[in-house]
């Protein structure tokens, strides 16, 4: 396995991240997440949003379409087929946007380490701001992950979307390695990155 060169940020990233205090506060306290259950972890979200844990008190809300969403939750294992849809959904989201990798499958493949169609590292394909580990993480862990993301946004460290913009070729190269159909010219219209 060759050593991977992880993407880095260019110097002009501060320009992109230059939100003032109010907008930063608003972004921190209003996270709409894309309700797209990619794996078994989606079942953990039901208790997190209903009366026991109630994430709406943190300003978190589900949104049906990626156009309005700020946060993409990758809930558990991601098969190559789903990855294709996730990439499209991620690219349809509007900047700034964040990704949370959920469970050990997104970190290192988890119990699917030898599966022929489950990806092993999520951050090769889309930039991940926060990983929540566990198999599956309990709602408490999810909430703590979300709180961590909020802090990161507040500290201007949730910069995955800029990374994706600046290192787009690198991410595309990785995506193409497993999604063969990205190689041809049958990609649909250009996206809004």
């Amino acid at each position: 396995m060759d050593d991977l060169k992880r993407p880095t940020l260019d110097s002009d990233f501060t320009c992109d991240m230059a939100f003032n205090k109010i907008t930063k506060w608003a972004q921190k306290n209003s996270l709409w997440l894309l309700a797209y259950g990619t794996g078994c972890g989606a079942i953990e979200l039901s208790p997190t949003m209903t009366s026991r844990y109630d994430w709406s008190r943190l300003g978190i809300r589900g949104s049906a379409t990626p156009r309005q969403a700020d946060l993409l939750l990758i809930t558990g294992y991601l098969s190559t087929k789903t990855l294709k849809r996730v990439i499209r959904s991620y690219e349809q989201m509007q900047d700034p946007k964040y990704v949370i990798g959920f469970g050990s499958c997104t970190i290192n493949g988890g119990m699917y380490y030898d599966s022929y169609n489950t990806i092993k590292q999520l951050d090769l394909y889309i930039p991940v701001d926060v990983y929540i580990n566990g198999c599956m993480p309990r709602p408490e862990a999810v909430l703590s992950g979300l709180a961590y993301l909020k802090d990161k946004i507040g500290d201007k460290k949730a910069d995955g979307w800029i990374k994706y913009k600046q290192n787009f070729e690198w991410y595309r190269e990785n995506q193409k390695k497993i999604l063969k159909s990205f190689n041809g010219d049958n990609m649909p219209d250009k996206y809004n990155w």
């Binding site: 849809r85 649909p188 809004n192």
Partner: protein, 622 residues
């Protein structure tokens, strides 16, 4: 030489040149357009002049024409819409089958209509009426539709019934009054029963031409199967002839007092006859709208929309008050404008794509931007949304109905106009917005002449939205002219505000407010400097992550209001068209039965003859 003769001469020259040069396209079209525009200019120049014997024309007391502002109002509409339609036909009819005779019959129709509008006696009115019907029937036959014969024949036969009904009442009047002149009518020589019959027969004649339910069965077929530029004229100007006829016969000739003689209701302050007319109008407006909502063919939808819109005009006629008649005349203009524009847009689309169903089209906004703008303005007017011209009609009509205390009718009419919003949205959504079909990628914009023809009415609608008072000033003039002064109630028009006893509305202030708010919102909207707006392709839409291609059908356009259809399914199967179709089937079956008498056997015929002779003998001898 008086004005009327000059106009007659100019239009006849146009007609003659359409016959003479019927093979030479440019010469023929130019001469027709020249003759129409010169006549139009002439009418507009002398528009205000309506008195003085010099302007009238008569022959042996039989034919009597008069050049007055009321007729001019309709003539301007006829010539204007006719000019636009012929302009649009230049490209639309180009190298189509039936192009050569199309113009001849079109000019014949216009000639007949101008004649009937200027006529002030029943005989010449009827001649003009028949020339119009004949001309339009012949034009329908020039289209390229396969089933045009069936619908043209239906139109012709139903029109014939109306014409006979009209002719019959004219002769009854002549029998009593001994004059065909409109002004010579004298209600005192008629009994109450005779007057009622007369009113019913006359209105049947005109309601058929205006396609009011239940006489509308010809409309959807004839409107949709004509060459579509002619339909613009058909619906935009010709259908108003029924309204004009009702106007001139009911209020210009017979008179309101004679109508009240047939039975007057104290509560509604109107006669039973007028009350019936209002309800016919309401039902037409509502059911026409409902049918338009549920149609899948663009032409059929516009045809039913015309039926519904004519209902509004009938309501105004039926009310018979100044406000009601003003509403009708205003709607004659706005409907003329937006229906002309819409039909020409649809003609352009069908000309370019060859598709007539909603679900076969979509996403043409980038191909036909001018047509899109014209449609947008037209549908805003159609739905009666302020600040464009359509709202004035609605406001005047509702106030007129409320003034007459017809509240139930008002409620249903308002619902019908909400329904108009539904089908109007479909017109713009399924034709111009949404996903473009693969085969329509290189559809060219509408031909230049059609673009001109669809934009001029649109400008008119915008203008009427801000200054409806200018038109109202004229319509008040005509209503005075045809001797309706029994109503003190009416719309008071100060500079730009409309006021009557029930409500008020200020068109210009409202329109300006909307414009100002729009400008302020736009500025506010573009304040954000850092934000960038990206224009993305049609395929980049939310599809739950799925990758779509151009082949994927992504337009929701078939059975658009299926919910309404499902909800009203039990009621929809009862329609006048079905009823008449069933009657015609029964009639064919009966004829088939009767036909069996003719067996072809000579001896049978001999027996029939003998039986007939014996019965006749018995009858006469006893």
């Amino acid at each position: 030489m008086n004005v009327l003769r000059t106009i007659a001469l100019i239009l006849s020259l146009g007609f003659l040149s359409s016959i003479l040069f019927y093979k030479i396209r440019e010469l023929r079209n130019l001469s027709i357009i020249a003759s129409l525009s010169v006549a139009l200019g002439f009418v507009i120049k002398f528009f205000g002049i309506y008195t003085g014997i010099k302007r009238a024309f008569s022959y042996k007391d039989l034919f009597y024409f008069k050049f007055d502002a009321f007729s001019n109002f309709f003539v301007v509409l006829i010539l204007g819409v006719g000019l636009l339609a012929i302009l649009a036909s230049w490209n639309y009819m180009k190298e189509k089958k039936g192009e050569t005779f199309f113009y001849v019959f079109f000019m014949l129709t216009i000639l007949g209509m101008v004649g009937l509008v200027y006529s002030r006696d029943m005989l010449s009115f009827f001649i003009g009426w028949e020339v119009m019907t004949m001309g339009s029937f012949l034009v329908i036959l020039q289209s390229n539709e396969k089933d045009r014969f069936k619908f043209a024949l239906r139109y012709f036969i139903i029109s014939l019934i109306g014409a006979y009904s009209l002719l019959w009442s004219m002769f009854i009047i002549y029998n009593k009054v001994h004059s065909f002149k409109f002004s010579a009518f004298n209600s005192s020589v008629f009994t109450k029963g005779e007057l009622t019959t007369l009113l019913i027969t006359i209105s049947i004649g005109f309601l058929i031409k205006a396609a009011i339910m239940p006489f509308h069965t010809w409309a959807s077929g004839a409107y949709s199967r004509s060459p579509l530029t002619f339909t613009a004229f058909f619906s935009g100007a010709m259908s108003k002839m029924g309204i004009y006829g009702l106007f001139i016969f009911l209020y210009g000739s017979i008179g309101l007092s004679a109508i009240y003689k047939t039975g007057y209701n104290e509560f509604f302050q109107t006669s039973y006859f007028q009350y019936t007319l209002v309800w016919l109008g309401v039902i037409t407006a509502f059911l026409g709208t409902l049918r338009a909502i549920l149609s899948e063919d663009i032409r059929v939808m516009l045809a039913y929309s015309s039926v519904g819109q004519l209902g509004y005009m009938l309501i105004g006629i039926g009310l018979g008050s100044t406000l009601g008649l003003t509403a009708t005349l205003f709607h004659v203009v706005t409907h003329g404008l937006f229906k002309t524009s819409l039909f020409i847009v649809v003609a352009a689309i069908i000309h370019r794509t060859g598709k007539t169903k909603f679900h076969e089209l979509g996403g043409l906004i980038n191909n036909m931007p001018i047509a899109f703008i014209a449609t947008l303005i037209s549908i805003i007017t159609l739905a009666g949304i302020p600040p464009l011209g359509g709202f004035a009609t609605k406001w005047l009509l509702y106030e007129a109905m409320i003034e007459k205390r017809m509240f139930f009718a008002t409620a249903i009419t308002m619902l019908a106009s909400i329904g108009a919003f539904l089908y109007a949205y479909r017109l713009i959504q399924n034709l111009f917005l949404g996903q473009r079909k693969l085969e329509h990628d290189d559809v060219k914009p509408a031909p230049l002449t059609m673009q001109i023809a669809m934009l001029i009415p649109a400008l008119g609608m915008v203008f009427l939205g801000f200054f409806p008072n200018l038109l109202i000033k004229y319509t008040n003039l005509f209503i005075e002219l045809i001797n309706i002064d029994f109503f003190k109630l009416g719309v008071k028009v100060t500079d730009t505000a409309f006021t009557n006893s029930y409500g008020y509305w200020n068109a210009f202030y409202l329109g300006s407010a909307v414009v100002i708010i729009f400008i302020v919102s736009t500025i506010y909207y573009n304040l954000q400097r850092r934000a960038k707006i990206y224009k993305i392709g049609q395929l980049d839409i939310y599809t739950a992550g799925e990758y779509v291609t151009r082949e994927t059908p992504l337009n929701y356009s078939f059975n658009f209001y299926g919910f309404i259809f499902d909800s009203l399914k039990p009621a929809i199967k009862y329609s006048v068209t079905n009823f008449i179709t069933r009657i015609s089937k029964e009639f064919i079956a009966l004829s088939d039965f009767v036909r069996r008498i003719y067996t072809g056997n000579g001896q049978h015929y001999a027996i029939f003859t003998m039986i007939f002779t014996i019965i006749t003998l018995i009858y006469f001898l006893s």
